[in-house]
Amino acid sequence: MELSRRDFLRVSGAGIGGVLLFKAMGDGVAMATPIKRIPLTRSGQETATICPYDGSGCGFIVTARDGKVVNIEGDPEHPVNRGAGCAKGAALRQISADNPWRLNKVLYRPAGSGQFEEKTWDWAITEIADRIKKARDAGFIEKDSKGNTVNRTETIANIGGAALDNEECYLLAKFARSLGIVYLEHQARL
């Protein structure tokens, strides 16, 4: 979704520029020199987002050009932060794909190996699904000692979610429970 940052970033009553420049000279700020005007280099497609750090839920505006982030700063309309951003919020741009430490390949470490190997998604999904099925089927408890249907697996654990989106959390819960996973935990416990 596009938002016009220019419009709401403008400081109220600040119709500065040529007119005031002229006025400033006239007002006798003798040493004042006009600033050489170059178009903003941090402009582009603007999209609203919510900060991925703490639970304040501050709004930010991501500016991107050709899919690459050129600027991220506070969303001035957002009622939680009104355009503000703490050290982490202000640093959001370093999360972007330009961060050289970001993971960008599927990696696999075989048992006992000393290093990761690069793999394809297809390979990884197939292998992971195989392992899940093997572990699930081997340890699946259909009925407990009292004969009650319990349909659970205690051999697979699933953790995490507080850094995911709601929809991902929901699908994760649906996925894990349909597999019979009961060791289902995440950051909220910690």
Binding site: R6, L9, R10, V11, A14, G15, I16, G17, L20, L21, K23, A24, M25, D27, V29, M31, A32, T33, P34, I35, K36, R37, I38, P39, L40, T41, R42, N71, I72, E73, G74, P76, N81, G83, A84, G85, C86, A87, G89, A90, A91, R93, P100, W101
Partner: protein
Amino acid sequence: MAEKAILYDASKCTACRGCQVICKQWNGNDEIIPSPSSGDRVAVKSRGTYENPPDLAPDTWIKMKFTEAESSGKMRWLFTRRSCMHCTDAGCVRACPNGTLYHNEFGTVSYNKDTCIGCGYCIPACPFDVPRLKGNRITGIAKADKCTFCTTQGLDRIVEGMEPACVKTCPPGALAYGEREAMVVLGRQRVDLLKSRGVGGANLYGENELNGLHVLYVLEDSPGAYGLPVNPRVPGATIAWKDVIQPVGWAVGGLTILGLGMNWLVARANAKKEEK
């Protein structure tokens, strides 16, 4: 009036340092740690303080200063902004030999990085120890840097009608921006409010210092307690350099050449006479 100013309110600041980061983000300044190509691990070390990086730098235009103060059993943690104050009587502008540093139309101090010759004279000239030189110490190839009041070319927020990046990002609203006169009024109001709430030492810093700073401070204690100069002045040597040395240089140079020219005329005339 078109003069602009930032009002920094120390009584509201929580030193979250969003300003330190957004300044780098907006102005494209790097951190002082190695790039990934030069290795994975970090050279910056903790020095037993929240204050980092250690000092202002060519790529660090704002740095929050943390001061612990304890009086009559009451602990206080004072936070101050260390950055360019954009003085009206600016030592750096005075010291700059070729007008690279200048007062812009908003009364703040900009500089033209293209014309900077890297002499570094602005550094000792600043009563607040703000400008920094980035360059090669041996070759002397360098450029000075400091807060531009968000008038960095191509990134000039002020001209675009936006507030400086640091002001915008401040979560507790400790930074305000607007016409300088309005900021002075706002600052005075804050000081009055703080005084009425029992902060006897509240004061507004920068209203008249150096003929008026364009970064004003609301302080809860004397400027000295925050590590600010109580009575900042442009150093005598800087005044002497720009106001005395340069003109004297031109005078002496001019007179010398004039004198030698005259001598040549007279002496040559005499020499010719003698030959005859």
